[in-house]
Structures are given as structure tokens and as C-alpha cells.
Point group: C2
Chain length 353, copies 2
């Protein structure tokens, strides 16, 4: 472990060589000083990442823990149509944590921050006897009046989603299966090392890509009437968007970009569909487009495919249209902290809380 907090702070300061535009004072004083561009609104969001809740220290490499902690907040900024600028990383470090873990964690944070030109300008640190807890706060910008809310979907709007859904949940499943085997074999002691090239599912789970460029494109082109990021699963996040917009939706099962079957092992299409509907942590963007603007939606943006998966309805229920033509209700079965604990039936959750 770093000998003193002073040395830790100095080390942190050295990780970011260049002083980005708009950063007047970074890590080291009572607070950071930044200057946003004139005429912008600011986007503020924060996300917790907690040991044994959001990550398992035995299975998630520290670099992935850092990447995922920041990615969650960057994705929230993308989901407003904005661009991220500054981040604060608060870290309650478990007493069991090593300096190597900490360095790898920050390597994950800084690598992702660098790619999106985000400056890490502060945070707070404490050492605790319990679980390591990260809180990543991001400040973003959006041109005045250009933010895309959850609440703008109107009946007749068409529903789109980016990328491929369910891959992260598939990656998590493969980690859990490995863990079970490891526990059966020798009891759970050491980390289950994930070495070599990651397959698509593990890559999606460990290093999800926040869709900041896409979010900004949708805002700048005035294409999307509403927008949300898929943090807890399509079924749950679509319910949130629909509720905020006071509408319902119809989703065509055949159009949902499920994980390619080859990566599923022996599983069938129903399983893939279930992963895509209810698996969380995809961090893809779900958005609605007014009918007349649908021709302007590209088939892909910067290499990320955009799929037309359904439509918004006036009736406030959400339907899933199956391949045979039958329609069933689509319930929100994605991740929910309260549900997980058996406190309540599937509820809604907002990321800005």
C-alpha cells in the first residue's frame, strides 16, 4: 500500500500528464476548479460500484472494476445526449486491498477517461474494514436545450437500440460457471484468473463501451425524442422510458439483437432472448425517433449497429410480439437493488438516483 495518502495523491496527479481544456485546478486543493464552455447546460451524474454488489473481487480484474465504475457514469451522460468532461472518483478502500490492485483499478479509470477526453479532477479516499466502494461522479456538457430526456417519447415514435444486448449478462454467466467449478474443485480461495484474449461476452462484461459518440450524434441531429441507457436490462429500462413518457410500447422479438448463438454453448434462442431482454449492464442506448425522421437514422454509427426494434403506443402497456405473431406482456425483469433483496416486486429505478 502507498505509505501515506500524500504519496497516493502525488501518484494520482502524475497519472494525468496534460491539463485538459477547461481544467483550472485539479487534484490537491480543497476542491477542483473547472470552466465549462459558454452556453452549455451541465449534466451531473454519479454511480456507485460496490464490492460483492457490482463486482466480485475474485472474478473481476481491478482494471475492469475501474473501467466499469467510470463507464456507468459516462453512459448516463451519453443517455442525455451530452459529452462528459470531468470526473471525481471517491474510493473507500478495503483494508485488504493491495497497492497493485489500486494501480490497476486506476489504470482502468484513466484509460477510459483518456479515450473520452475526461479529466479526473478529484475525489475522496478512506480506508475501511469492509467492502471497497467506488462512487464515480461525472460532469458533462450539452448545448442548451439539446439534452434528450426519458420523457419525450410520443405514440407512433419508433424504437431503436444500439449494439448487441445480453452479451454482458452472458459474460457474467460464464464467470459464475467458472466460479462454481472452482469452488467444487478446491474451495474458493484465489482469484479465478481471466487470461488471454477475452471472448465477446467477457469483453462486453468487463469493458463495456459507453456510447458517448452516439448519444451526442442523436442530440446534435435532433433525431431522438427520448433516450435512456440500458443499465438494468431492456425490459426494465424500456419500462422506465415508457413510464416517464406516459406511453407504452411494442417490441418485435425477431428484431432484438441477441447474442450470436455460437457464443451461447448449448443454449437456445429463448435463452438468448431472455438474456437480451433482462440481462443488465449492456450500456447500449435505447431511443425513440419520430416516424418522419426514421429515414435519417443510419444503419450504424461509428461501427455501432442501430436496430429498429419496435414502436411507441398510446396504451400504457409494453408488449412483446413473438415470431408467430402472438403478443405477450413484457414485464420489467431486469436488475433492481430492492427486488434482489426480496423487498418488493420488480420496481422502476432511475440512474440519477
Amino acid at each position: 500500500m502507498f505509505a501515506t495518502e500524500h504519496m497516493f495523491v502525488r501518484w494520482l496527479q502524475r497519472q494525468q500528464a496534460r491539463r485538459p481544456m477547461g481544467l483550472h485546478l485539479g487534484i490537491g486543493d480543497d476542491a477542483a476548479l473547472v470552466e465549462p464552455r459558454a452556453g452549455r447546460e451541465l449534466i451531473l451524474t454519479t454511480d456507485l460500484s460496490i464490492e460483492d454488489v457490482h463486482f466480485l473481487p475474485q472474478f473481476h480484474p481491478p482494471r475492469a472494476v475501474g473501467h466499469r465504475a467510470l463507464a456507468r457514469s459516462l453512459s448516463d451522460v451519453a443517455a442525455m445526449g451530452g459529452i462528459p468532461r470531468f470526473a471525481l472518483i471517491s474510493l473507500a478502500i478495503s483494508r485488504r486491498t493491495t497497492q497493485a490492485w489500486l494501480e490497476e483499478f486506476y489504470a482502468g479509470v484513466f484509460a477510459l477517461a483518456r479515450r473520452f477526453a475526461v479529466a479526473v479532477v478529484g475525489g475522496d479516499t478512506a480506508i475501511v474494514s469492509g467492502a471497497t466502494t467506488v462512487d464515480a461522479t461525472v460532469l458533462g456538457e450539452v448545448a442548451k436545450g439539446k439534452a434528450i430526456l426519458r420523457s419525450g417519447a410520443r405514440p407512433g415514435d419508433q424504437l431503436f437500440v444500439s449494439g448487441r444486448l445480453g452479451l454482458s449478462a452472458l459474460g457474467l454467466r460464464s464467470i459464475e460457471q467458472r466460479a462454481e467449478r472452482a469452488i467444487r474443485k478446491k474451495g474458493l480461495r484465489d482469484a479465478v484468473r481471466t487470461t488471454g484474449k477475452l471472448n465477446d461476452a467477457l469483453q462486453a462484461h468487463f469493458y463495456p463501451e459507453p456510447r458517448c459518440h452516439l448519444g451526442r450524434f442523436l442530440g446534435q441531429k435532433n433525431l431522438a425524442s427520448s433516450l435512456i441507457d440500458l443499465s438494468d436490462g431492456l425490459s426494465t429500462d424500456l419500462a422506465r422510458l415508457s413510464e416517464a413518457s406516459h406511453v407504452g410500447a411494442r417490441v418485435w422479438a425477431e428484431r432484438i439483437p441477441v447474442p450470436a448463438s455460437v457464443t451461447l454453448g448449448g443454449s437456445n434462442h429463448d435463452d438468448a432472448l431472455s438474456l437480451a431482454l433482462n440481462g443488465g449492464e449492456d450500456y447500449e442506448l435505447l431511443f425513440t425517433v419520430p416516424s418522419r425522421k426514421v429515414p435519417q437514422v443510419p444503419r450504424e454509427y461509428r461501427g455501432v449497429p442501430l436496430h429498429h426494434i419496435g414502436e411507441i403506443r398510446r396504451a400504457k402497456t409494453i408488449l412483446l410480439k413473438l415470431p408467430g405473431g402472438k403478443e405477450v406482456a413484457l414485464w420489467p425483469l431486469g436488475y433492481d437493488h430492492f427486488k434482489k433483496l426480496g423487498f418488493a416486486p420488480p420496481g422502476r429505478r432511475t440512474n440519477s438516483r
Copy 2:
């Protein structure tokens, strides 16, 4: 406990009836949208408050936990000469927490926020099996170029401090003494209730007052060349200010506003001085003033006394001048997370980390 996170979020939304100026979108979407005033720099700061590290659930009333969590970040904004505008409260809630605790916690947060016209615009929530952990992020504003840093003190500048030092540590001591008695008597089970009117020390410990008005006054009047808030004790925070400014200091022991002896019970003046020098969590402001501006420093500002306690020296050591005229080195013996754990000798700590 709230039946669903949805209900919790709705409850939170109802706690703030008015939409403050500059808040375009609060709790409930992917992120918050705010608009700072033109021509301002933004101040960003965040502070952790952790069960069994920063507060003890048996002894700290939940309302005080909420107040203190936000006060720490407001004090950082005051220490830059700015005014706080928006806050995000992230909360990892221990599974043992009751809804009553949560409501009282937020009552403490919202009461303090209201008094300083700060809008709580977001956060994140999770339920954990371990310690309750709060991360309070505050966004403040300061006129361009008017922020007061730690690094501006120059030899010959005069050293001032607001309020009275060591009261919070005295309050903590009385809590600990009560706890010991309670444990001896019946084993530690229930909360040691603090009822009735609080004495000055308990009031200072449970409900510290961030000096936002004073910080802003010092900035607007261009009075202070450097400024820091006393979160970890005068001896430690003066060492930080001195290091950042590449200077030393001389402090006159007689001038330090120690707790009134009557509140100390049987203790003597040395004890009071030690509390004032090394007791943390006072959240008073320590600042330097160029000699020629000293006459402009009022004896008090908005009821808070300002004490002239020393001077800045070129030599990079910090001296304490005792009543007899003898000078001794003043070592940083205030709170330090790493020191507490036996990792290192007293180090420096920065609040923006």
C-alpha cells in the same frame, strides 16, 4: 424500509418543493441538468462519510449524519471562496438501516441544503450488507479568477482563523466517555440517546456550520491570499496550507480560540490547546491576509469571530510560540486516514482527494 426504489425516489423528489434557479432537471432521469451563471468557474468537491469511520450509528443521530455528510463538502466550497449550488448524495445503505433512519438522515441533508440554497439534484443508491457509506458531491460557483487557493500565502502575510477550535473534538470526547460508561454498565446494545438541548461541544460536533458566507466574503473583498478549511485539525491543515504555499508559519498559542474552560470539566488549558490544535472536524476557515489588508479584516463576520493567530514565515517550519515566549515546533497531529491505520507517520491530506 421503502417498498421499492421507485417509492424512495418519489419520496426524495417531494422533499424539495421549489425548483431552484439554474436547475433544469433534478432527480429521476439518467442525470441532472443544471445551468451555472455565466462567467463563473465551477467548484467540484466530494466527501465520503462512512459508518464506523466518520460516524458511529450508536452515537450519531441520523439527522447529524446527514448534516455532517453535506457540511463537509459545503465547507470545501467555502474554502475556495465560492458558493455552493447543487449536490449529489450517493448512499450505500446498510441492510440494517430502517426507513426512519433514512428519513432522518435526509432531513439533516435537506435542512442544511435549504439554508444554503443548495439543490439536491441526484445521487445513486444501493443496499449493502456492510457499512452505510455516503458520498456527498457539491458543485459550487465562484467569479472567474476569484477562487482562493491553499497556495497563495506569502512570507509576512498574517494568519487568521474563524470561530472556536476544538469544540467538535470535545463533543466527540464526551460521546466516547458516555459510550464507555454505557458499555461498562450494560454492554453496548442500544444507541446512546442524545436528548434535550445540546451543549456547545455536542452542537459543534453533530451540526458543524460550514462557513460559506465568510468564504464568499473573503473572496469578494480580495482579502485572503490563501484559504483552507479545518477538517483535520489546525496543526495538520496549517501544514497543508504551508506546504502548498512553500512557506512556514508562526502561531501564537495565546491567540488560539480554544474551547471555553467551563465546558472542559476538570481539564486544564493544555488540554484545551491540544484539542484546538489537533482536534478535527471544526470546519472553521484558516486564511492568510497580506499585512496591508489586515485593518480591513473585521473582528467578526455575520456573528462569527475572526481571530488573528499568527503569521507566515519564509522558513518552511511551523512554530508554536508559547505564553512564556518559548517557541516549539508544531507537528501535524490531526486526523489522517493512513496514520490512523498505522501505515505511516503523520502525512498530509487533501480534501479534494
